[in-house]
């Protein structure tokens, strides 16, 4: 299983803050995300917008990062704290 988390305007757009999906061997975040969009529709394109940040197990990663079973993946806009 992979746990997915969504934050800020991405969470609002998708209308959900988290979900779980099945683990697929040797899948990059890019591919995993394309599968999500295929399944859930155009609204989910926001996940691949150029400024969307990807994290895996609470570390920012590139889109070609290969996901492992049990990983926590998050999608969020550029941060605006402080």
């Amino acid at each position: 299983m992979i746990k997915l988390l969504f934050f800020a305007r991405i969470k609002e757009r998708l209308g959900k803050s988290e979900m779980t999906i099945d683990f697929v061997e040797n899948q990059s975040l890019q591919t995993l995300t394309q599968e999500l969009i295929k399944k859930h529709g155009d609204e989910w394109q926001i996940l691949l917008e150029p400024d969307t940040v990807f994290s895996c197990n609470q570390r920012v990663v590139d889109r070609d990062h290969i996901v492992a079973d049990g990983d926590e993946v998050a999608y969020f806009p550029p941060v605006t704290g402080g």
């Binding site: 400024d51 550029p78 704290g81």
Partner: protein
């Protein structure tokens, strides 16, 4: 965001991180910062602080015309990753400007105009370390810690956009 994994080294500085909805009192935090140390061996000569708070004004008058007055910020974060990111930021600062102790408090939730958002406190032997570390931590936090602000206006609300000037501010430290 955080490209500084190499900075996660052992440091003997006392680093305290808190993400909280409650406010904070600067003097209390100063006391707690100082209580980290043996009273008999007070090597702290300099303490720097930075407090960020909700401003009422929008520089862009067209925003004011359309949205009305800013009432508050609603701040969301990624629990777990936020604390990890703030700790890394402090450790990175400590590597460049060794300090004795540091406290970073960041609030989340609904914060009205004038309320404090973030506090960075750094205690060091000398003023350069304290001031530079404090400045670095706030600059770094702004581009690395997973917080998001939503601006609540009289007539509308929108997510705050990341500022290019914050990206420039952090680049400055890489020189």
């Amino acid at each position: 965001m955080s490209n500084h994994k190499s900075a996660l080294q052992y440091t003997n500085a006392d680093i305290h991180i808190n993400v909280q909805s409650e406010g904070f009192d600067l003097s209390d935090e100063m006391l707690q910062l100082q209580n980290c140390f043996d009273k008999q061996d007070q090597e702290i000569g300099a303490i720097s602080s930075f407090t960020g708070q909700v401003r009422s004004t929008e520089e862009d008058q067209s925003v004011v015309d359309k949205s009305g007055k800013l009432l508050a910020l609603s701040i969301e974060h990624y629990p777990g990753m936020t604390e990890k990111s703030l700790l890394e930021t402090c450790q990175l600062a400590n590597k460049r400007w060794p300090f004795k102790a540091c406290r970073v408090l960041h609030r989340v939730g609904y914060l009205t105009v004038g309320q404090p958002i973030v506090l960075v406190l750094v205690a060091a032997s000398h003023r350069e370390q304290a001031m530079k570390a404090c400045e670095f931590i706030i600059d770094h936090l702004k581009t690395a810690a997973p917080f998001w602000k939503k601006a609540i206006f009289e007539n509308t609300a929108h997510w705050v956009e990341a500022k290019p000037s914050d990206q420039l501010a952090i680049k400055r430290w890489q020189e």
